[in-house]
């Protein structure tokens, strides 16, 4: 834990060679440290996601949030960028993997990196965090109420579930879910838990009564103080174990 952090906008190279914007927060006096890639939610590369990124720096990590909407809407206000990208079909999975891979490489290139990098995502980013953990060299992944990881996607969805990706999960997974959530429902969380058990994949799930989707978001009506506080403690412990 440190009070001395530096946060700024940087340009990073995505794996596909595209330069994209990212928000970097670093712990200035934490010694050798791990890194965290924060995947922003569908509403965008916004203030609340940058606050999360800074919190990881306070916890002693180098943290970075790539702007997944930079390609389509460089420099746009976050909600405008989110709307523009949505109208174009959203961020596809291959781009997500390129951008997270680029962000992880950027963190591993930092002067004080210990070489370990975790990933975390919320909502749509929860699914993307699991996707990244199945295909990239990462050391720990956190899925906060990601939908469409398992189960049958609704007909109108243009995203597949990740059932066929799960055998490739390459790092421990922490899952945080609300028992009032409708997507993923508790039954879908049970299914994911069982599939990971069957595959022998290390994972740790925590589920909160009275909490629904988006319980980590302090600027939304879905915020749950008790679930968010406990969730942050779980994340701190999990990353402390796997990124040290």
């Amino acid at each position: 834990m440190t009070d001395t952090i530096t946060a700024r906008t940087v340009t990073i190279g995505s794996r596909d060679g595209t330069d994209i914007e990212a928000y970097l927060a670093t712990a200035d006096d934490a010694g050798r440290r791990g890194g965290v890639v924060v995947i922003h939610h569908m509403p965008g590369y916004d203030r609340s996601t940058k606050e999360i990124t800074r919190r990881f720096a306070e916890l002693g990590y180098d943290a970075i949030c790539p702007n997944l909407y930079w390609r389509q809407a460089p420099g746009a206000e976050p909600s405008d960028a989110a709307a523009a990208v949505r109208a174009q079909g959203g961020v596809d999975d291959s781009q997500l993997l390129d951008d997270v891979a680029g962000a992880a490489a950027y963190l591993r290139g930092q002067e004080w990196s210990n070489g370990k990098v975790g990933v975390i995502g919320y909502c749509s980013g929860g699914r993307q965090s699991v996707l990244a953990a199945c295909h990239l060299d990462l050391d720990a992944a956190v899925d906060c109420y990601g939908a469409l990881v398992v189960g049958t996607p609704p007909p109108e969805s243009n995203r597949p579930n990740l059932v066929t990706d799960l055998p490739s999960l390459g790092c421990p997974l922490l899952g945080l879910f609300g028992n009032e959530d409708r997507s993923p429902t508790p039954a879908l969380v049970d299914e994911l838990d069982q599939r990971l058990d069957d595959l022998g994949k290390p994972h740790e799930f925590h589920r909160y009564d009275g909490a629904g989707h988006g319980f980590f978001s302090p600027d939304r009506p879905s915020y749950s103080v008790s679930a968010a506080n406990d969730g942050w403690e779980r994340i701190e412990t999990f990353y402390g174990t796997h990124l040290s």
Binding site: Q72, A73, A76, A83, C123, S157, R159, D181, G214, R220
Partner: protein, 90 residues
């Protein structure tokens, strides 16, 4: 949840948007998902935009499902009250 479901419809008209300037609009994006500003977990979101002028050139609405249906009904009622020959005349 993030629904990913997005409905796009063509439009022909004008909207008053950023900097109180009027601009031509040719499509609307409609989806039920997390709002940015409305105090609801999910909302019916409408972006009426001119993408050729950049991502910021849009009018955005975030409505509860109930109020979105009320808006649809109000539009239908307003159109129903107009003599067909006036609508045909444009």
């Amino acid at each position: 949840m993030c629904t990913y479901n997005t409905v796009i419809t063509e439009l022909n008209g004008s909207a008053k948007g950023p900097s109180s300037k009027w601009f031509h609009v040719d499509h609307a994006t409609v989806y039920y998902d997390h709002p940015v500003h409305a105090m609801a977990g999910h909302a019916l979101n409408i972006d009426i935009a001119d993408p050729s002028a950049g991502p910021g050139q849009r009018v955005a609405l975030e409505l509860t499902a109930e109020s979105a249906r009320a808006l649809v009904q109000a539009i239908e009622d307003a159109l129903a009250a107009v003599p067909p020959e006036i609508i045909a005349a444009g």
